[in-house]
């Protein structure tokens, strides 16, 4: 018994002595241990980050996609990996790779460009004897394919599918790393003329485009052509944003420009001024110019001049609930056409007046977001026709939009149009009224890159 007691004393005494004599040492040891654990945590987190970044890089995606070489890839990228770090990296890698929409692995996604499809279904009811539209149509399906090409450029393609046929709406390379702050594009693109011409259908605040777009700027396709574009931010007083864009195109854009020979190129210029009035309100102003040859041949040109203004209000604390956008565009068209002698009845197409045609048109609109999912808006249209400036069309629209989520929207639009028509074939009064109700459903699949502001 005494032996046992002596043994207990011998075993317990050193511990008791240690506790009793050096509490500071124990505290320091704990602190050191805590620091060591924290450092190890940091190293694991850093390795996890490296694994994520490696998986996001196209170059390393192929080995990862194989599913067996994650560990070597991560280890190779670590400056001085220890076996612990390599194991941590291996553990950090998810056991099951992420699949996006069931389309493939995360690595495959990293290799591929962003692909998106936007559907645009429109139903129309009411009467319009001048411009007919089907009662229901899958108006457009826009396929977007976008990616960074290399450290110096990115590529964007937008293919627009109708119910029949396909059109390359845009397909261009953007050089993002040029000296002097220049951003250059080459390919087919929507020109920088005004505001609405630059917008894809799915970002319009209405179902249709303004009457002036149809009458003077080529309608839905607009000035959309193959060529070069150069943009640069210009020196300006502090707080003011000034940007100049110059574009050179082949010269074929809807019914606005027509190239009959290689020298029939068209040009577009745009100067944009922007200023923040407050953190919630800003004003965006632009002037535009475009010139090209028209469908009467190389001797006939069309010049367009435009002014655009946009006032935006969005309180930052309630940005997802409330906003207001007021827009207006004013466009002048000067179009050379054959003289009266050459344009006798039968010699010129219907609706074409002889000689130089000066036409003017505009729209103004306002859109107000009154809840997270709801927007209401209106638009007033007025425009002469480019080929016969004596004819003027007017219109008014009211729009209500509902967003079930960021990726779908349902929109209704009441549209009244008064078509001007001096030829009395349409109605005895020389005018033709159209009352229509339009309904649109738009939906987005995949990762569609954000469009410029």
């Amino acid at each position: 018994m005494r032996k046992h007691l002596a043994l207990c004393v011998l075993l317990v005494a050193p511990a008791a002595f240690a506790q009793g004599t050096s509490p500071n040492a124990a505290t320091n040891e704990n602190a050191a241990l805590e620091q060591k654990i924290r450092d190890m945590e940091d190293r694991i987190v850093a390795l996890e980050g490296q694994v994520r970044m490696l998986k996001a890089q196209p170059g390393s995606a192929a080995p990862v996609a194989g599913g067996t070489s994650t560990q070597p890839a991560a280890a190779a990228a670590t400056p001085s990996p220890t076996s612990t770090e390599a194991q941590a990296a291996a553990q950090a890698a998810p056991q099951e790779p992420v699949r996006l929409g069931g389309a493939g692995t995360a690595a495959a996604k990293a290799l591929n460009p962003d692909i998106s499809m936007i559907g645009d279904f429109i139903a129309t009811t009411g009467q319009n004897r001048v411009v007919s539209a089907p009662v229901m149509e899958m108006h457009e399906s826009e396929l977007g394919v976008q990616a960074i090409i290399d450290p110096y450029a990115r590529g964007d393609f937008f293919l627009s599918f109708g119910e029949e046929g396909v059109n390359l709406e845009e397909g261009f390379i953007t050089f993002t790393a040029l000296p002097g702050g220049i951003v250059a594009k080459a390919g087919k693109m929507r020109s920088a003329f005004g505001k609405v011409n630059t917008l894809h259908n799915h970002v319009l605040p209405w179902i249709d485009r303004p009457v002036v777009s149809g009458n003077l700027v080529g309608g839905e396709d607009g000035i959309d052509d193959a060529g070069f574009s150069v943009t640069r931010i210009l020196p300006a007083p502090k707080g003011l944003f000034l940007e100049g864009t110059g574009q050179l195109f082949r010269g074929d854009s809807s019914d606005v420009f027509k190239s009959s020979q290689r020298s029939d190129v068209s040009v577009v210029g745009h100067l944009r001024g922007y200023g923040d009035i407050s953190e919630s309100t800003n004003l965006d102003l632009g002037i535009s110019y475009a010139r090209g040859h028209n469908d009467f041949g190389s001797s006939f040109t069309t010049s367009l001049y435009g002014i655009d203004a946009t006032l935006r209000y969005k309180p930052l604390r309630r940005a997802i609930y409330k906003s207001f956008v007021g827009r207006g565009e004013f466009i002048w068209s000067q179009r050379q056409q054959p003289g009266a002698a050459a344009c006798l009845p039968g010699a010129c197409p219907l609706g074409v007046a002889p000689n130089f045609q000066r036409a003017f048109g505009f729209y103004t609109s306002a859109d107000y977001q009154f809840a997270r999912r709801w927007f209401v808006g209106g638009r007033i249209d007025r425009s002469d026709r480019a080929r016969d400036a004596r004819i003027t069309d007017d219109g008014t629209s009211i729009v209500l939009t509902y967003w079930p989520s960021e990726f779908a929207q349902v929109r209704g639009q009441y549209r009244f149009t008064r078509y001007g028509a001096p030829i009395s074939t349409l109605s005895p009064t020389g005018k033709e009224d159209a009352n229509e109700l339009l309904m649109q459903i738009q939906f987005s699949l995949g990762a569609h890159g954000a469009h410029p502001f």
Binding site: M53, V98, R99, R154, Y274, D276, E279, R318, I320
Partner: protein, 306 residues
């Protein structure tokens, strides 16, 4: 000779300050939190500006042209990454005309690589789950441990871009680490009595915060990330909160309080407007004050809803 010396002296006097000024790195960050951390480690050797405001939903920032004026002169762009800024930052980068900050260039820094990322989806990801982030939850800066890691990562990048000041940045990050560790001890002790307390949040903004401070997030006001509350989900949430005895709801300053207040009135819960970012409330102007502000609110709420 004297005239020459005077001329060169004058030239040196004129040029040296401008050279010293030119040496300052221009840093632009996507959010105020990254700006605050960059300022901590960059000190007076950098100029830093954030694009988004602290009281703004960082998912929905307008890509205003005035931001291009900041970006075109930036030496470094620091982003949160994980697709948080996907709706507005890419077009700004493209339009900036600044080759230094393009993705893949040396002046582009995705800060998510330094942080512990939670809620990385496993398996199939679809939009049926709402505005889900396929690469993980991007609200990672709300864990002070991640704040320290981010500061170290940013300091490393600043040193890479400005090797002459590398030791200065390392010294600043060591000082920040020390101050943060001390603050962390204080914050951890403050929250220790409330470990395991159940809370509901509006959006999935707080997983890193909840993990660090031992909170249990049992539900969300949004039925899915980015999807506004629906009546049926709100009813389910009320039942859940009653069942689980949840008495605190954390709401970001940019969300409408109508639904949270309605839920709170039926469950007896307290609605806390917590700021997820520096600058989200008046006086919250650095990374330390962010946690001071939020944790004080939480403590008061937990004490009053025992």
């Amino acid at each position: 000779m004297m005239k020459r010396l005077t001329f060169f002296g004058l030239l040196a006097t004129l040029l040296l300050p401008s050279l010293a000024f030119a040496k300052k790195l221009n840093v632009v960050t996507s959010t105020t939190d990254l700006a605050a951390l960059t300022q901590e480690v960059g000190g007076d050797r950098i100029n830093v500006e954030s694009i988004a405001k602290g009281y703004q939903d960082p998912h929905f920032v307008e890509a205003k042209p005035s931001f291009l004026l900041k970006l075109r002169n930036a030496d470094l762009l620091v982003s949160v990454g994980l697709d948080l800024e996907i709706g507005w930052l890419p077009p700004l980068i493209t339009q900036s005309g600044n080759g230094r900050i393009q993705r893949g260039a040396n002046g582009y820094l995705d800060a998510s690589q330094f942080a512990e990322i939670l809620e990385i989806p496993q398996g199939t990801v679809t939009r049926a789950e709402g505005d889900v982030h396929p690469l993980g939850n991007p609200h990672y800066w709300l864990d002070p441990d991640n704040g320290r890691r981010l500061a170290k990562g940013i300091a490393g990048k600043l040193g890479e871009l400005d090797p002459g000041d590398s030791s200065y940045f390392q010294q600043r990050v060591a000082d920040f680490d020390k101050r943060l560790s001390e603050a962390e001890k204080r914050w951890d002790a403050q929250m220790l009595p409330y470990h395991g307390r159940k809370v509901v949040t509006y959006h999935r903004s707080w997983p890193n915060f909840a993990k660090h401070f031992g909170l249990d997030v049992v539900g969300y006001v949004e039925p899915r990330p980015g999807i506004p509350p629906t009546p049926s989900h709100t009813l389910d949430l009320i039942n859940l909160m009653k069942r689980e005895n949840v008495k605190v709801m954390l709401i970001e300053p940019y969300f409408d309080l109508k639904t949270p207040n309605s839920v709170a009135s039926q469950t007896g819960a307290k609605v806390l407007v917590m700021t997820p970012s520096v600058g989200g409330e008046k006086g919250v102007d650095d990374y330390f004050k962010l946690f001071d502000y939020d944790l004080n609110l939480l403590k008061q709420a937990f004490d009053s809803t025992k």
